[in-house]
C-alpha cells in the first residue's frame, strides 16, 4: 500500500532525528547543562517498558483474553509505589559503589564475586534474546504489512531466505545505531545522557501515535467506546472479552502482576534507565506517578482497538497483533498508518537500544573482562584497555542482535508477541531473591545467591523456552507431551505432574521455589566470606553507611601513585586520569606525585573509578595486579567490625553520660533552690539575732544611763538597776555563746569527743545540776530508771547540755508548787529513749515543730514571752541528730508536754552503779 521507498526514507529520517536528539543531549551534558535532569523526562525514559509488546502485542492479547493484557501494567504501577522505598536505595548503593549494571550489583553485593557476575550476565542474555527477537519480529512484520495488503499479515509465515529477510537488516541497522549511541567512549559513570533524551522522545512518539490510532479507530471508524463495547456485547463471539472469562484464571493474573512487578525493576533496560541513568533521586518522586499514568494512557484504547479489529476482520482473518497497523490501512489512511508504523518503530528501537547497551556493559564488565584478566598477561602488555573494552561491547551488541535474529528465525511464528515477552520476564524474575534479599537481608550469602540463581535459571530454561521450541520442530512434540524419554513426571509444562496451571505460572512456581529455597537455605547454613560481611552492610545499611574509613582499610598493600596512574590511564586515557587524580588531590589534600606511596584511601578511590568503567569484580582484579595485596584474614575483618561496634559502644556510653548529666543538672537545680532557701533563712537568722541582741543591750544601756545621769540615786534602787544590768549581760553572753555553739554545730566545726557513755550517769548528773532551780521553783523531779541503764556512744558534755536544756525548759513551764517533771529511760530494739515529761500548759499543735526552729518559742511571742533565747531546742536537736538519734515532742494543749530523744545503744550496760546513784539523787 505504501511504497517501500517511502517507508525506508521515513524510517531513516526518524532514526536520524533520534540521532540528532542524542547528539544534542550529549553535547549539553558535556557542557554540564543536562537536558534530562527532569523528573518528567526520567519518567518518560522509563516508558521504554512499553515496547512492541505493548504497542502491537497488547491488542493481540486483548483480542483473545479481553482485559488479560492489563496485569503487566497494573503490576508495574504497584511496584512504582515502592520505588521511593526500593529504587532509591538501589540508586544510592549504585552511586556509592559506582555500580553500572545489574550483574555488577549482584556480584558486588556478594563479595565482588566474579562467578556470580558472570552467571547473572549469562541469565540476562539468555532471557533477553527472545525479547529482542520479539522486537525484530514486530518491526519486520509491520514493515511487510505496510508494504503489502492487510491480508499479508497472515502470510509472513513463509520464511524468506536469510539474506533477503528484512529482520536481518533491521537487526544490523539497530546494532550500528546502538553502537554509535551507546559506545562512543568509555566513561567511569557509564551514563548516556543523549541516549536517554532520545529514549524519552521515543516514548512520547509511541504514546502519541498509539493515542492517535486509538482515537481514530474509536471515534472516527466507530462511534466511541459505547458503540464498540455495545457491538462486542451483542456478538456472542466477542461478549466474553468484556468479562474476566474462562480464558484466564485469577491465579495466573496474580502471577503476571508479580512478574511485572519484578520486571519493571530487573529488566536490564529498566535497570539501565531507572538506576544507572538516574541524575537525581528526587526524580523518582515524579516517575512514581507519571510512569503509571503513561501506562494507563497507552492502554486505554487497547481493548476498543481489539474489538474494532475483530468486528472489522472477523476472528482468524488478520493476526490480532497487527490490528493497530491494519485498521488505519483498511481505511486508506496512509499518513496515519505511516505514523503508527513510526510509533511501533519507536517502541521497538527504544527497547533494543537500551537493552543491548545494558547487556553489552554486563557482558564486557562481568563476563569477558574477568576471564581476560585472569590471565595477567592481558594487563602486562600495556595496551589501551579502554579501547579493548569498547570493542568488546560493540561485538556484544552485534552478537546479541544476531542471536535475537536467530531466535526470530527459529521460533518466528510459534508464539505470539506477548508469550515471547513473558518468557523474558520470567527469566529476569530469577534475579529477585538475590537482589531483594541482598538489599534487606544482611545474612544473604554469595553461595546461596549463586546456587539459587543457577537452579532457578535451569528450571526456567527447562519449563519455558525449551518446550516453546516444540512448535518449531526443533524439540519433538512428544518431549512436551510425555516428558523426556516418556517420563511423564518430567514433562516441562507439567513438572512432577503439576497440571492445570498456565505455562508461565507453572514455570514461575517451580523456578522460584528452587531459587528462593536454595538462596535462603544455603544462606542460613553457610558461612559468609570476610569480603561479604563488609559488602552486606554497605548494601543493607546504604542510607546510614559512611564510605571510607573501615572499607579503605580492607586494602592493605603497597603501591606507588605512579603505578596507579599508569593503570588508570589505560582505561580512562591520560586526560581522564589526570583530571580524576587532580580532583581527588583537591578533595583530600593527598600527595599524588608519581613517586609517593599510595594511601589505602587512594587505592580504594582508584578501584572505585575503575569499577565504574569495568565493573567491581574486574576492578578488583586490575588494582590487585599492581597493589601487592596482603591477604586479609578473617580475624582482621572481624577486628575492623569490632572497632565499628566499639564506636557504637562509645556512642551509647555518651548517650548514657548525657542522661546522667541531665540528671545531675536537675539535682543541681534543686540544690540551688535549697541554697537560695538557706540563704534566705540565714538572712532571717541574722536579722533575728540582731534583734535578740538589741533587746538586752537596750535595757543595759538604758539602766547604765540612769545610773550615770543620777549619781545621787537611792542605794536600793541603784542595787536593783545594777542587778538588771548584770542579768541582761549574762543573758547576752548566753545568747552569744549559744549562737556560736549553733553555728559551730551547723557548720560541722564543733569538736566531738565520742566515747561510750552511760545514759543513767548523764541523767543523774543533769538532775543534780538542775536540782537548785527545781528547788527554787518548788517543782518535783522524778527519775524513773531501769536497773541497768544503756550505754550509748556520745559526747558526754553535749549530751548533758541536751538534758539540761530539756530539764530547764520543763521547769520553766511548770506551775509553781504543783509542778512535776519526770525523767524516764527505756531501751527497746537497740534504741535507748529518754523522756522528759512535765505537767505544764502543753504546746499547741501548730507550735509543735515551730519550737525547734531558731528563735521561735511557743505561744504568742509578743505578749507572753517566756525567758530564754529560743536557741536551746534547735541546738539540742542538732546534737541528738548528730549522734544518730531523734528529738521530738508529744503534747496537747493543757495536758503537759513530753520531750523525748532516742540514741542507738552501743553496749547494754550490765547493771551500772550510776543507776543506783541516780535513784538516790531523786528530788
Amino acid at each position: 500500500m505504501i511504497d517501500t521507498r517511502v517507508i525506508v526514507v521515513a524510517s531513516a529520517a526518524y532514526l536520524a532525528l533520534l540521532f540528532v536528539i542524542a547528539y544534542f543531549g550529549d553535547r549539553r551534558a558535556d557542557r554540564g547543562r543536562s537536558i534530562i535532569s527532569n523528573g518528567y523526562i526520567y519518567a518518560l525514559s522509563i516508558g521504554v517498558y512499553a515496547s512492541s509488546w505493548t504497542y502491537y502485542g497488547s491488542v493481540g492479547r486483548a483480542a483473545t483474553t479481553g482485559v488479560g493484557f492489563l496485569p503487566i501494567y497494573l503490576g508495574a504501577t504497584v511496584m512504582a509505589a515502592g520505588w521511593w522505598l526500593m529504587l532509591r536505595k538501589i540508586i544510592r548503593i549504585c552511586k556509592q559503589n559506582r555500580i553500572t549494571s545489574l550483574a555488577d550489583f549482584i556480584s558486588s553485593r556478594y563479595g565482588k564475586s566474579a562467578v556470580l557476575g558472570g552467571l547473572v550476565t549469562v541469565i540476562a542474555v539468555a532471557g533477553i534474546v527472545p525479547y529482542i527477537a520479539l522486537q525484530l519480529k514486530a518491526i519486520s512484520n509491520s514493515f511487510t504489512i505496510l508494504r503489502g495488503e492487510p491480508e499479508l499479515a497472515m502470510t509472513v509465515a513463509a520464511d524468506p531466505p536469510i539474506l533477503t529477510d528484512t529482520a536481518l537488516y533491521v537487526a544490523l541497522l539497530l546494532a550500528a545505531f546502538t553502537i554509535v549511541f551507546g559506545t562512543r567512549h568509555l566513561d567511569a559513570t557509564e551514563r548516556h545522557e543523549g541516549m536517554v533524551a532520545a529514549i524519552a522522545f521515543e516514548s512520547l512518539v509511541k504514546l502519541v501515535a498509539f493515542l492517535a490510532v486509538g482515537f481514530y479507530v474509536t471515534y472516527v471508524s466507530f462511534r466511541g467506546f459505547g458503540d464498540l463495547f455495545g457491538r462486542a456485547r451483542s456478538d456472542p463471539d466477542l461478549a466474553h472479552l468484556l468479562r474476566f472469562g474462562e480464558t484466564q484464571s485469577y491465579g495466573s493474573w496474580l502471577w503476571l502482576i508479580v512478574l511485572s512487578m519484578l520486571a519493571i525493576l530487573f529488566l536490564p533496560r529498566q535497570w539501565q534507565l531507572a538506576v544507572v541513568e538516574n541524575v537525581d533521586e528526587n526524580h523518582i518522586k515524579t516517575a512514581t506517578w507519571v510512569f503509571p499514568l503513561y501506562l494507563l494512557l497507552i492502554n486505554i484504547f487497547v481493548l476498543p482497538i481489539a474489538i474494532a479489529g475483530l468486528v472489522t476482520f472477523g476472528s482468524g482473518g488478520v493476526s490480532a497483533d497487527a490490528f493497530v497497523l491494519v485498521l488505519p490501512m483498511a481505511d486508506q489512511q496512509a499518513m496515519l498508518t505511516l505514523f503508527v508504523f513510526i510509533g511501533g518503530l519507536s517502541a521497538a528501537t527504544g527497547m533494543v537500544i537500551v537493552e543491548t547497551i545494558a547487556l553489552s556493559t554486563m557482558v564486557s564488565n562481568s563476563l569477558v573482562l574477568p576471564i581476560l584478566l585472569r590471565r595477567r598477561s592481558a594487563l602486562a602488555d600495556g595496551r589501551d584497555l579502554g579501547r579493548a573494552i569498547l570493542r568488546i561491547r560493540r561485538a556484544t551488541i552485534v552478537a546479541v542482535l544476531l542471536l535475537g535474529f536467530a531466535y526470530f528465525r527459529v521460533a518466528d511464528d510459534a508464539l505470539a508477541l506477548v508469550s515471547i515477552g513473558l518468557i523474558s520476564f520470567a527469566a529476569v524474575a530469577q534475579f529477585a531473591p538475590a537482589i531483594l534479599g541482598g538489599l534487606y537481608w544482611r545474612g544473604a550469602t554469595g553461595r546461596g545467591a549463586t546456587w539459587g540463581l543457577l537452579a532457578g535459571f535451569v528450571v526456567w530454561a527447562y519449563t519455558l523456552p525449551l518446550p516453546s521450541l516444540a512448535a518449531t520442530g526443533l524439540v519433538p512434540e512428544s518431549f512436551v507431551e510425555d516428558g523426556p524419554f516418556g517420563v511423564g513426571l518430567l514433562a516441562p509444562y507439567a513438572l512432577f505432574g503439576l497440571d492445570g496451571l498456565d505455562e508461565v505460572s507453572h514455570s514461575m512456581l517451580w523456578s522460584m521455589l528452587v531459587n528462593v529455597g536454595l538462596f535462603v537455605g544455603l544462606s542460613l547454613t553457610g558461612r559468609r566470606e570476610p569480603a561479604e560481611h563488609v559488602q552486606a552492610s554497605a548494601f543493607v545499611d546504604a542510607f546510614t553507611h559512611v564510605g571510607g574509613g573501615a572499607d579503605a582499610r580492607l586494602w592493605r598493600g603497597s603501591a606507588t601513585v605512579g603505578e596507579l596512574r599508569v593503570l588508570l590511564a589505560r582505561f580512562l586515557g591520560d586526560d581522564g586520569t589526570r583530571a580524576a587524580l587532580a580532583s581527588y588531590a583537591a578533595g583530600t589534600g593527598a600527595d599524588v606525585s608519581p613517586g609517593a606511596a599510595a594511601e589505602p584511601e587512594l587505592v580504594q578511590h582508584v578501584e572505585a573509578l575503575l569499577a565504574g568503567a569495568v565493573g567491581s569484580a574486574a576492578a578488583r582484579f586490575i588494582v590487585g595486579s599492581v597493589v601487592e595485596e596482603e591477604p586479609l584474614a578473617v580475624d582482621e575483618v572481624l577486628q575492623i567490625l569490632e572497632e565499628t561496634s566499639e564506636v557504637l559502644a562509645y556512642s551509647r556510653a555518651l548517650e548514657r553520660k548525657s542522661q546522667q548529666l541531665q540528671a545531675a543538672t536537675t539535682e543541681l537545680r534543686h540544690a540551688n533552690e535549697r541554697l537560695q532557701e538557706l540563704d534566705r533563712l540565714k538572712d532571717d537568722f541574722v536579722s533575728t539575732v540582731t534583734h535578740e541582741l538589741r533587746t538586752p543591750l537596750t535595757s543595759i544601756r538604758a539602766f547604765s544611763e540612769i545610773l550615770s545621769d543620777n549619781p545621787d540615786l537611792d542605794p536600793t534602787e541603784r542595787g536593783d538597776y545594777l542587778r538588771i544590768v548584770v542579768q541582761e549581760t549574762e543573758r547576752l553572753t548566753r545568747l552569744i555563746n549559744q549562737v556560736l555553739d549553733l553555728s559551730k554545730l551547723e557548720s560541722g566545726a564543733a569538736e566531738w569527743h565520742i566515747e561510750p557513755v552511760d545514759l543513767g550517769e548523764i541523767v543523774t548528773t543533769s538532775a543534780h545540776a538542775t536540782a537548785q532551780i527545781f528547788r527554787e521553783r518548788e517543782v518535783d523531779l522524778e527519775v524513773d530508771m531501769p536497773g541497768s541503764a544503756p550505754i550509748v556512744r556520745a559526747d558526754r558534755d553535749r549530751l548533758v547540755q541536751v538534758l539540761l536544756n530539756l530539764l530547764s525548759n520543763a521547769v520553766k513551764f511548770c506551775p509553781r508548787e504543783t509542778g512535776r517533771v519526770q525523767i524516764g529511760i527505756e531501751t527497746r530494739d537497740g534504741v535507748a529513749r529518754v523522756d522528759v515529761r512535765d505537767n505544764g500548759p502543753g504546746i499547741a499543735d501548730a507550735d509543735r515543730e515551730v519550737i525547734f526552729e531558731k528563735f521561735r518559742q511557743g505561744g504568742d511571742t509578743r505578749t507572753n514571752r517566756p525567758a530564754g533565747t529560743g536557741l536551746g531546742l534547735p541546738i539540742s536537736r542538732q546534737i541528738v541528730e548528730h549522734l544518730g538519734g531523734r528529738l521530738w515532742v508529744e503534747s496537747h494543749a493543757g495536758e503537759g508536754a513530753t520531750f523525748s530523744f532516742t540514741l542507738p545503744v552501743a553496749v547494754v550496760g550490765a547493771g551500772s552503779p550510776a543507776g543506783a546513784e541516780a535513784r538516790e539523787g531523786e528530788t
Binding site: G82, W83, L296
Partner: protein, 63 residues
C-alpha cells in the same frame, strides 16, 4: 511530610493497588453490568488504576 511517612504512604497505596487489582475484588465487578456504556470490569479496572495513580501523585508531590 517527613520522608519515612511519605515512603510508608506510597507503599500503602501500592498494597491498596495490589488488593484492588486482584481477586476477590476483581470478581465482584466481573458482571454483565454496563457503566456509562462501558463494561463494569473494564470501568472498574481503569477507575481503580486512575485512583491509585492519583493517590501516588498526591503523595509524591506533597511536601
Amino acid at each position: 511530610m517527613n520522608d519515612r511517612l511519605k515512603t510508608a504512604r506510597l507503599v500503602a497505596v501500592g498494597l491498596l493497588g495490589l488488593a484492588l487489582f486482584n481477586f476477590p475484588l476483581l470478581a465482584v465487578f466481573d458482571t454483565d453490568a454496563v457503566v456509562a456504556g462501558v463494561p463494569a470490569l473494564w470501568a472498574y479496572l481503569f477507575g481503580a488504576w486512575a485512583l491509585v495513580i492519583a493517590l501516588l501523585g498526591w503523595i509524591a508531590r506533597s511536601r
